[in-house]
Symmetry: C2
Subunit: 367 residues, 2 copies
């Protein structure tokens, strides 16, 4: 375990030599075995986005701002209750690595899709933004009927731009250690894991395998706590993981307070500081706080021109932060880049960047 | 054939009594056999929207602003060449009837989907906006491999908000007369057909059957010319159809000039006037021209706050026009309502309305 990840050793020229595709028009995202700044592992999901009135959340017994796992029957009830929707690739860690690629970094992803339309959409969109993809495709008869399709996440956006998610994992539920391609992990400057994976025993084993491989190859390991309810469910295991295996930790106030059983964010940050882990605490409109080395440093949020949909704000913050760390920036400048990316993604519907974040980063001297 | 359709005989109370669902949160769009303002028939498609640089159109040999039918191999080449995309229900006539429903009208649709993710998305989105749906679901082994999936249309939006479309019809290609539920057509105030259907022999037969049923039940018949290349391909047949079967005709300048082999729009409108058909000629930013009864009347475009994506402008113009005709408005006020709807849809990505067009219409005294 290294306290702060080293900058990636891949110079820009190496990316070009390896055929790094133009952003947005890749046939590929295949880098032929070169180093990757960030490799993410997480649920491969297609987001089903719909604007809903507040009362729909009540009707569906969904908790505003949270992510809840739902079974197939509940997923169908939710779909029947919402209006016309838009389908767009999502998944927390998948969003983050696509953001790293959008910034001009090199990225890979490990996840599981089914051989259906949504699986094809997910794979297309990852490759199109230049992410090297190791998506295990589930056999048509693998798993119970419950898990047969590509996973999807209903993202219900209310008038205040808050998003409430209900995720039916589909075949993501059977992501297991056999789906982890060690070779991809070994090439990562940073392995990035979403906490959501901890909810499924086989995905947890996949995470453990990937973490071991990363350590064996001197890759750093980053973890997003994902959701305070997820942390509640697995507090002691997460704490053990963070202290012993993790180099970089992302979480918001609720998640960090839950992890450290702390009464306040300050108390949580104090406990976080004692772990020696580099912690990026996201605080919504107030920005973020970086803990590690020099003690807590507050980094203001980047100005947002408009707030349409908060989906992906945390994911894109992680994109900027990880891109920064792997491109020679210190944690505070990395946090500034994270804020810039988060401000872009909340300005429109959908969790992946629509503007050229690499250009935005250069304009701020953060490329 | 009636020169101008009569207003629908369904009073608002009848809609309520029949359980007309709240817009956007219908479980259904089932009106239990009551009259319908507009029943559309067309290709059931999911749009795959992507912003692309101009050069991508050249690379793919696509003609800017046109719609081209592509086979499966070409569809796959196009998909591989574009960046991350957004999937949203589309199809010209499907967009139009969803717009009629969004305005508070009653609407039905006849089309053909496959039993796959995209077919489910299409059916969900139509029902969610309150459209009564008669979507024939193709058997998994119906048709050649070429036509096995739900149809999709690549909508490539360039920086000037122009859209260029490449459509792989999938199972829409085998829509046939057996898929027309006469009972649905018989309940229509206006049967609305998209010219695109004329490209496939079986769909053409389906159109002929629906037209006959409509006439047998004193329903009016409206036709959108869809695309000037489509008109070029079928000029004499379209002309025969318009003169003998159609009550309301929608077309833009290129389409109408092609249909009437006219050197100018004025010449085309003069020829159109001689047919006795009510013609709504759409002229982009200049608005539209209504021909019928009182001779050509120019109706200005509604002010658009921004122009993001012109996809669906013609479809939504037809929504407003048909809603107007079936709710007691004269053709000129119906054209004003059409312009209002078109202005809404070009303000965002996607071909279906996102703002409450019924509220917008009431604000203009056009509900």
């Amino acid at each position: 375990m290294t306290a702060v990840p080293e900058p990636a050793t891949t110079p820009p020229d190496a990316h070009a030599a390896a055929g790094h595709p133009d952003r947005g028009h890749a046939t590929a995202g295949r880098l032929d075995g070169g180093p990757l700044d960030v490799v993410g592992m997480g649920n491969a999901l297609v987001d089903v986005l719909a604007a809903v009135p507040d009362r729909v959340l009540d009707d569906l017994s969904l908790v505003r701002g949270s992510m809840e796992l739902v079974d197939l029957a509940r997923a169908e009830r939710i779909y029947a209750a919402i209006g016309s929707a838009v389908e767009v690739s999502g998944g927390s860690a998948a969003n983050t690595v696509s953001g790293v690629a959008a910034l001009g970094g090199t990225a890979g992803f490990i996840g599981k899709v089914a051989d259906d339309d949504m699986g094809k959409v997910f794979v297309h969109d990852m490759r199109a933004c230049g992410v090297e993809l190791e998506a295990a495709v589930a056999d048509a008869d693998e798993g119970e009927a419950e898990v047969r399709g590509t996973g999807r996440s209903f993202v219900l956006v209310t008038g205040d731009a808050e998003r409430t998610m209900a995720t039916h994992l589909g075949v993501s539920a059977i992501l297991g250690p056999g789906d982890v391609r060690d070779e991809l992990v070994a090439r990562a400057g940073i392995l990035y894991l979403e906490g959501y994976l901890w909810d499924r025993p086989s995905a947890k084993e996949a995470m453990r395998r990937a973490v071991k491989t990363a350590h064996d190859h001197d890759s750093s390991v980053a973890l997003s706590l994902s959701d305070s309810f997820c942390v509640d469910r697995h507090r002691s295991e997460f704490l053990d993981l963070v202290v012993n295996e993790i180099d970089v930790l992302f979480g918001n106030e609720e998640e960090l307070r839950s992890l450290f059983s702390a009464r306040s964010l300050d108390d949580a940050l104090s406990s976080a500081g004692e772990t020696g882990v580099l912690v990026a605490a996201t605080c919504g409109p107030k920005g973020s706080i970086v803990v590690g080395g020099r003690g807590p440093v507050e980094v203001p949020a980047a100005p947002a021109t408009q707030i349409v949909d908060k989906t992906g704000a945390g994911d894109m913050y992680a994109s900027g932060f990880l891109y920064g760390l792997t491109h020679g920036h210190d944690p505070v400048d990395s946090a500034r880049l994270g804020s810039l990316c988060a401000a872009e993604v909340i300005g429109h519907l959908g969790a992946r960047p629509q503007r050229d974040v690499a250009v935005m980063a250069r304009a701020e001297g953060l490329a």
